[in-house]
Amino acid sequence: MEKALLGLAAALAVGIPALATAYAQAKIGSAGAATVAEKPETAAIMIILEAIPETMVILGFVVAIMLIL
C-alpha cells in the first residue's frame, strides 16, 4: 500500500507541474510566435521566455525521483 501511495505521489509530483508547464508554454508560445513574426530579433528572448516554465516540471521530476528512491 505504501509503495502504491509513493508511486501515486511521484506521479502527481511530475504530472501536475507538467500540466502547469504545458499551459504556461502554450500561452507563451503563441504570444512568442506572434512577436517573432513581427520582430525576428526577439527570437532569443522568446526562447528564454518559452523555456522558463520548464523548471517547474524538472523540479517535479527531482521530487518524484527522491520519492521513489
Binding site: A43, I48, A51, T55, I58, L59, F61
Partner: protein, 642 residues
C-alpha cells in the same frame, strides 16, 4: 574575444576624396563614425543622388518582376567590370540608364502579358471543350433545320419563368400562318447559373435576344477572341486550339526564362554598383566641409592598423594626415564591437547573434559557450551510436556545403562538436543504441549506467550547474570591477558567498567530511548577507535564491538524458518481445529514429536555455554596437535586398 579598436582620423585634400573613399572601401576595415557634419538632409540630397536612389529602386523592382534571386552566384567580376566602365556620377549617363530600364520594363511587361493571356486562354478552352462536346449535336441538328442557335448564361432559379415568358412572346411575334417554334438545351454551371442553348427562327432572333437580356440573361462568350463562336460549335477546333496553345505558352515562358537568366545577373550587378556608389556619394557629401579639406573619422581594428597605415601612405604619400588613438573610457559605449575568436570557437558566435552584442569592454562568452554547450548537449545524448550517426551526418553535410560559409556551416560544426562529446559521454555511460552495446559488444560503462545510477548522474548535473553558475557569477563580479560598479560587485560576491556557505553547510550536515565546517559555513553566509545588503538589498537576496534555483535547473541534463536512454532501451525491448522479425526490427528502428530527433533537438534547446537563462543572466549585458565596415558588397556578409 572582442577585437581592440583604434580611433582613426584622416585629414586630406578635397580633390582626393573620391579616390580615398574608393581606397578605404577596398581596404574594407573602416567603421565610419557620424560626426557633426551639418544637417543630413543637405548632405544626402541632390539631383544625382535622387536619380540614383530612384534607379536603385527601379532595379530592385525589375529584379522582383523577373523573379531573380540568385545572389549567391552573382558574378562579382562583372560588378568590377561595370564599376570601371559605367560612369555614375553625372546625370547624363543616369538618364541613359533610366531610358534603357524603361524600355526593358516595357519588353518584360509584354512577355508577362502574353503569358498571362495564354494561361487564361488555356483554362477557358478546357472549359469550352466540355461545353462543345455537350452542345455540338444540338447545334448541328438545329442548324440543319435552318434555325438560329445562341448561347446564354441565366440564373438557374429564373430559368423556368424565362422559358415560359419566351414561349408566350414568340407565339405573339410569329407572323400569322407560321408555326411558332423554340428549341432549347440547358447545362448547369455551378449552383446558381445555367447555360442555355436557344434555337429560334432566324428572323425573330434579334427580338428574342432583347427579351432574354431584359429578363437578366447574358450572352455567353467562351473566349475574348473572335474565334469564340466558331470554337463553341466545333469540338475539333477546340481540340486543335488546346493542342497549339500550350506550345505557344511554353515558348513564351522560355522567352521569359531566357530573359531572366540573361538580364537578372546584369541588373543585379548594376543594382550592387548603384548601391555602393550611392553609399560613397552620400559619404563624400557628408565629409566635404567648407574649404579645401575634409576629415574622416572611423574605428579600425588594431590588428589591421599597420596594414591600413602603410596602404594609405603608399597611395596618398604626404597628401593626407593620419592620426590614431585608443578609445577613451567615455567612448566605450560608442566603439563598434567585432568578435574575433579562435577558429574552434568561431561557430559558437551564432549564439550571440540572437542577442544584442556585448559592450566593447565586456567579456565575449563565445569560448565558454564553445566548451560548455557541446559538453551539456553531449551529456544529455550520451550514446556512442547516436554520436556516431550525428558525427557522420555532420561531416557529410559539411563536405557537401564546403564552398558555403555562414550559418549552415556554423550549425554543422556545432553538430560535429556535440557528436564528439556524445560519443565520449556514451563510453562513460556504456550506451550504444541504448543497451544494445552491452548485449552485443559487452560494452561496460566507464563511470555509471544512467538507467540504474540515477542519483550519481543527478548529483553530477547539479555539480555541473554549480560550476557553471558560479563561473557566471565570478564573471559578473569581474565585469563590475572593470566598470567600477561597486554595487554590482558586492551583489555578485555576496551571492557567491551565500551559495558557497549553503553548500558547505549542507556538506557538514550530511557528514560528507570529518572536518567541522559549520562555522566556516556560517561565516560565509553572514559575509554574503552583509555584501548583499550593501549591494542589492532585498533584490539581491531574491536574485541569490534565483541563482540556487538556476543551479537546480541543471538537473534537466540528467532528466533529459535519462528519458533518452530509456527510450533507446524500449526500442531494443521491442526486439525481445517481437523477435528479430521484419516488424520488430522496423519498430525498433522507428523508435531509435524518433529518439535521435528528440535527442538532438531537446539537447540543443535545453543547452541553449541553460546558457541564455542560467549563465548569461549572471554577467551578460548586451549594449554593444555592431562593427559595420565600409567595404565592397562582396566582402560584407551580403544582405539581400529581398
Amino acid at each position: 574575444m572582442i577585437a581592440e579598436m583604434v580611433h582613426f582620423r584622416i585629414l586630406g585634400l578635397k580633390s582626393d576624396i573620391k579616390e580615398l573613399i574608393e581606397h578605404i572601401r577596398d581596404l574594407g576595415v573602416f567603421h565610419i563614425t557620424e560626426e557633426d557634419n551639418g544637417p543630413p538632409s543637405v548632405a544626402t540630397k541632390g539631383p544625382v543622388i535622387e536619380k540614383m536612389r530612384f534607379l536603385r529602386a527601379s532595379l530592385l523592382g525589375l529584379l522582383e518582376d523577373l523573379g531573380w534571386k540568385d545572389w549567391d552566384n552573382l558574378d562579382w567580376d562583372s560588378v568590377g567590370y561595370l564599376r570601371e566602365v559605367v560612369p555614375l556620377d553625372d546625370i547624363g549617363p543616369l538618364d541613359e540608364i533610366e531610358k534603357s530600364l524603361v524600355e526593358f520594363k516595357e519588353r518584360l511587361d509584354e512577355i508577362k502579358d502574353e503569358i498571362k493571356s495564354l494561361e487564361e486562354s488555356v483554362v477557358a478552352l478546357k472549359q469550352v471543350y466540355r461545353l462543345t462536346s455537350y452542345f455540338q449535336p444540338f447545334f448541328v441538328t438545329e442548324r440543319n433545320k435552318g434555325y438560329k442557335v445562341s448561347l446564354w448564361l441565366v440564373n438557374s432559379s429564373k430559368l423556368p419563368n424565362l422559358l415560359k415568358t419566351l414561349e408566350t412572346n414568340i407565339r405573339n411575334i410569329i407572323p400569322v400562318g407560321q408555326r411558332p417554334f423554340m428549341g432549347y438545351k440547358t447545362l448547369s454551371q455551378g449552383k446558381d447559373l445555367t447555360l442555355l442553348a436557344l434555337s429560334v427562327v432566324a428572323e425573330i432572333n434579334p427580338t428574342v435576344s432583347k427579351i432574354i437580356e431584359d429578363l437578366g440573361g447574358v450572352p455567353y462568350r467562351a473566349l475574348k477572341s473572335d474565334l469564340s463562336d466558331l470554337i463553341l460549335e466545333s469540338p475539333n477546333m477546340t481540340q486543335m486550339e488546346l493542342k497549339w496553345l500550350p506550345k505557344k505558352l511554353a515558348q513564351a515562358k522560355k522567352t521569359f526564362e531566357d530573359t531572366r537568366r540573361e538580364w537578372g545577373p546584369r541588373l543585379a550587378a548594376l543594382y550592387t554598383l548603384m548601391d555602393e556608389r550611392l553609399e560613397s556619394l552620400a559619404l563624400e557629401r557628408k565629409l566635404i566641409r567648407e574649404g579645401e579639406y575634409f576629415t574622416l573619422n572611423a574605428w579600425v581594428p588594431r590588428s589591421n592598423l599597420d596594414g591600413v597605415i602603410s596602404s594609405l601612405k603608399e597611395r596618398f604619400k604626404d597628401r593626407i594626415l593620419i592620426t590614431w588613438r585608443s578609445p577613451k573610457p567615455e567612448e566605450w559605449d560608442e566603439v563598434p564591437v567585432l568578435l574575433e575568436n579562435p577558429k574552434w570557437a568561431r561557430p559558437f558566435e551564432v549564439f550571440l547573434k540572437l542577442l544584442p552584442l556585448p559592450g566593447y569592454k565586456s567579456m565575449d562568452p563565445t569560448p565558454l559557450i564553445a566548451i560548455f554547450f557541446p559538453l551539456f548537449a553531449g551529456c544529455m545524448i550520451g550514446d556512442v551510436g547516436y554520436g556516431i550517426i550525428f558525427l557522420l551526418c555532420g561531416i557529410w553535410l559539411k563536405a557537401r556545403n564546403r564552398e558555403r560559409n555562414g550559418l549552415l556551416c556554423d550549425i554543422l560544426q556545432i553538430l560535429i562538436n556535440i557528436s564528439i562529446f556524445s560519443i565520449l559521454w556514451g563510453f562513460l555511460y556504456g550506451e550504444f543504441f541504448g543497451d544494445l552495446g552491452h548485449r552485443l559488444l559487452h560494452l561496460k560503462p566507464l563511470w555509471v549506467e544512467r538507467t540504474r545510477g540515477v542519483v550519481p548522474v543527478m548529483a553530477f548535473a547539479v555539480a555541473l550547474g554549480f560550476t557553471h553558475v558560479m563561473l557566471g557569477l565570478m564573471l559578473g563580479a569581474y565585469e563590475g570591477i572593470k566598470c567600477n560598479n561597486k554595487r554590482h560587485v558586492c551583489e555578485r560576491i555576496g551571492t557567491i558567498s551565500i551559495i558557497l556557505g549553503a553548500v558547505i553547510f549542507v556538506a557538514d550536515q550530511a557528514k560528507i567530511t570529518h572536518i567541522d565546517l559549520l562555522w566556516p559555513a556560517i561565516a560565509l553566509l553572514v559575509f554574503g548577507l552583509t555584501l548583499l545588503a550593501r549591494g542589492g538589498g532585498l533584490t539581491g537576496l531574491v536574485e541569490t535564491i534565483g541563482s540556487i534555483g538556476n543551479i537546480l535547473s541543471y538537473i534537466r541534463i540528467a532528466a533529459i538524458g535519462l528519458s533518452s536512454a530509456i527510450l533507446a532501451m524500449v526500442a531494443t525491448k521491442f526486439l525481445d518481445v517481437l523477435g528479430a522479425s521484419f516488424f520488430g526490427i522496423m519498430l525498433a528502428l522507428l523508435i531509435h529514429l524518433l529518439n535521435l530527433i528528440i535527442a538532438i533537438v531537446g539537447s540543443a534547446l535545453h543547452s541553449a536555455r541553460l546558457h541564455y537563462v542560467e549563465f548569461f543572466g549572471k554577467f551578460y549585458e548586451g549594449k554593444g554596437n555592431k562593427y559595420k565596415p565600409f567595404s565592397r558588397r562582396r566582402e560584407t556578409a551580403w544582405k539581400r535586398p529581398y
